[in-house]
């Protein structure tokens, strides 16, 4: 058992989290096996609201990728995808998941599933990367089912009306295929309801993350990566909203009582880039042992969709998908990071340069150096990967992180006002 100084305080709401996640997986699996509802795969920031409105049960393969990574099963499944011609340099979610399918090995076995559920349709949005399309096309060929999606703009500066209109048109074009597979017509009221729930879920999730702005932070990035599950796979459902109300109440109690996620918080860090799923526990323990809270991240905030508006479903969905950090150019990304650093009173920024996820790695075009200059904060880049632990060195990461915290110790104490 870890010593109290090196562990994060457990959350009582986690029991409910486990229940709703399990119910989701069991439900999608049953629908797939018993054909009680159409089943779709959707990318994590794809137009899921359309699917919910049409009665689909939705499976999110990136979540499966994260489960494969966190359970370290990924390390044993990726090779099968490499042998099939999927390079070790492309998204390791993709290679982990396709390898899982080929080997029939999945951490979902804890829910009685031997594989991820077979889909009737796969729906992507390339706002995050091109890999999602290639990933889905593999299954489209395997199962002979439609693969449809939105080919998004990337590296967007300011989101313009023309961008939004173009994505709306693509979404409208998706509808006939989605309707045909679902066997029903898209109902405008149901779409509005679905968007309203996504918006509510997004707002609640944002409030949950905002509790880490308190000193000490009520939540860390490492907890956040687990708690965000419903924001990803249950967005647009009542269950997700109910869960986040429960979690938020618990975290607000922590804030009110002056309690932090860590027993002691000397420093506050911002994490940019993907989690290293197979090392979450190790890294959480390392930071906790250094009395350092990783209080905010680009990653966890990626499921905050400010633009969603049930009164204007498709255009607001389109805008939300375009305003995402990952789809933006360097300038808005830098502005966003500067804002987050100030909001969360951060002492330093860590960039995770994820080998197989260049689109979610922001250390490759001078961003750390620019942030260091504009914010006057220490910045560290660590090499690793979301799932491929061959790209991560425990020793290098530990040495760099420990050295970084020593660097913070050498600086004058900071107050929140110093960042205002």
């Amino acid at each position: 058992m870890a010593s109290p100084r090196t562990s994060e305080a457990p959350l009582a709401s986690s029991a409910r989290l486990k229940e709703i996640m399990a119910a989701h997986f069991v439900g999608v699996d049953r629908a797939s096996r018993e054909h009680t509802a159409p089943v779709a795969w959707c990318t994590s920031v794809g137009p899921v609201e359309l699917l919910r409105a049409l009665g689909y049960q939705v499976f999110f393969p990136e979540n499966h990728g994260a489960l494969l990574g966190a359970s370290r099963v990924a390390n044993e499944t990726m090779g099968s995808a490499h042998a099939l011609g999927y390079s070790p340099d492309i998204c390791s979610y993709l290679t982990s998941d396709i390898g899982s399918y080929l080997q029939k090995r999945t951490p979902l076995s804890r829910y009685g599933m031997s594989t991820a559920p077979r889909a009737d349709l796969l729906l992507y949005n390339t706002n995050q990367c091109r890999e999602v399309k290639d990933w889905f096309e593999f299954y489209g060929r395997e199962w002979n089912v439609p693969v449809v999606g939105v080919t998004s703009f990337r590296e967007i500066g300011e989101v313009q009306r023309s961008h939004v209109d173009a994505i709306v048109r693509q979404m409208e074009d998706l509808v006939p295929t989605l309707e045909a597979v679902a066997g029903r017509k898209l109902d405008a009221a149901r779409l509005e309801e679905s968007v309203a729930r996504s918006k509510e879920c997004s707002d609640l999730w944002r409030e949950v993350l905002a509790t880490a702005a308190a000193r000490p932070a009520a939540l860390t990035f490492f907890d956040g990566t687990i708690q965000m599950g419903p924001a990803v796979i249950l967005r647009g459902t009542v269950e997700a909203c109910d869960f986040y109300r429960l979690l938020l109440a618990e975290l607000q109690e922590r804030v009110k009582g002056g309690k932090g996620a860590l027993p002691r918080e000397r420093f506050r860090i911002y994490w940019d880039g993907m989690p290293v799923w197979g090392k979450l526990r190790d890294l959480a323990t390392l930071f906790a042992g250094l009395d350092t809270s990783v209080v905010a991240s680009t990653y966890c905030n990626s499921w905050v969709f400010e633009a969603l508006d049930p009164r204007d479903p498709l255009p607001s969905m389109a805008r939300a998908s375009l305003e995402l950090f990952i789809a933006r150019s360097e300038e808005p990304k830098q502005r966003y990071l500067e804002r987050m650093v100030r909001q969360f009173s951060v002492d330093g920024v860590i960039f995770h340069d994820s080998r197989t996820c260049p689109n979610n790695s922001n250390a490759r075009f001078g961003m750390p150096q620019r942030l260091r200059r504009t914010l006057g904060l220490p910045v560290l880049t660590i090499d690793g990967d979301l799932n491929d632990l061959r790209c991560f060195s425990d020793e290098q990461a530990r040495t760099n992180i420990e050295g970084f915290v020593e660097q913070l110790e050498g600086q004058a104490p900071r107050s929140p006002a110093a960042h205002a």
Binding site: G79, S80, H82, A83, P88, L389, R390, S393, E395
Partner: protein
């Protein structure tokens, strides 16, 4: 008439000499140390001595391997793929998936019923040095490379060594030692690591044969490969000499016109 074939590899230089009837009458293996030219000459000299002939009397000298270009007396240079395929097929006379695991870059070669190569997959650049990695592992475990297999045999389970880069993998070995893993577990883990890298190159199917120096010195790799792939895996007779044998056969072809 005598001909010779040589495989100038990164860990060893292998040479063979055949007489006019095609019979192998001399063979030699020399560790690669210093310049390839010197090692090649030493190996060729040793093989011709065993064949009771002289280097000057060789009608043809076919050379393959990483250092082939350093063999100035070569009458032809050939790729490792065709030489290993030729050597393996000559001995077994059947279609196969041949896995050549040498010091540098392993290859998966598909060979049809005529002995023709139908596909080749090599390891990616950042995963080269597989055989050399096993030598490094021996050094860190402070055992002679030939003993790596002995200590691995006694291990219950392999220690995880996951990096595809042999330098990173070496660092992992050092970290495992610090964490207190047994030498046997690390040795076995290193062999599974090699098997895993090969499994990532191509889908192994049907009859799998292994050639190259690694399976000669580290047969645990073959066992790990069989376990990981679920395929029957056998070792080519004299696996370390398969490339040199193939080169010798090409030299014979040239001598016979």
């Amino acid at each position: 008439m005598f001909v010779a074939g040589a495989d100038v590899g990164t860990e060893c230089v292998k040479a063979m000499v055949a007489n006019g009837e095609g019979k192998i009458v001399g063979r030699a293996t020399v560790p690669t140390r210093g310049y390839f030219q010197d090692c090649f000459q030493e190996a060729l000299h040793n093989a011709t001595q065993e064949a009771q002939t002289r280097v000057a009397d060789l009608g043809q000298v076919a050379v393959t391997g990483f250092g082939a270009s350093c063999a100035s007396i070569a009458t032809q240079t050939l790729t490792e793929t065709v030489c290993h395929a030729r050597g393996a097929f000559h001995q077994l006379q059947k279609p196969m998936t041949l896995v050549d695991i040498g010091g540098r870059d392993p290859k998966v070669v598909r060979i049809d019923e005529r002995g023709a190569v139908t596909s080749v997959k090599s390891v990616r650049k950042c995963a080269v040095g597989i055989g050399t990695f096993l030598m490094f592992t021996s050094r860190h475990l402070d055992v002679h490379p030939t003993r790596l297999m002995d200590i691995a045999t006694n291990a219950g389970k392999p220690a995880p060594v996951g990096s595809y880069c042999s330098v990173f993998a070496e660092v992992e070995v050092i970290e495992l030692l610090r964490a207190g893993a047994s030498a046997g577990e690390i040795a076995l883990g290193a062999m599974y690591s090699v098997a895993d890298r090969i499994m990532e190159m191509d889908r192994l199917q049907g009859q799998v044969l292994v050639s190259g120096g690694v399976c000669e010195y580290f047969p645990g790799v073959v066992r790990a490969l069989a376990e990981r792939s679920g395929c029957p895996v056998e070792i080519v007779p004299e696996p370390i000499m398969a490339g040199a044998l193939g080169a010798t056969l090409y030299a014979l072809d040239a001598a016979r016109g």
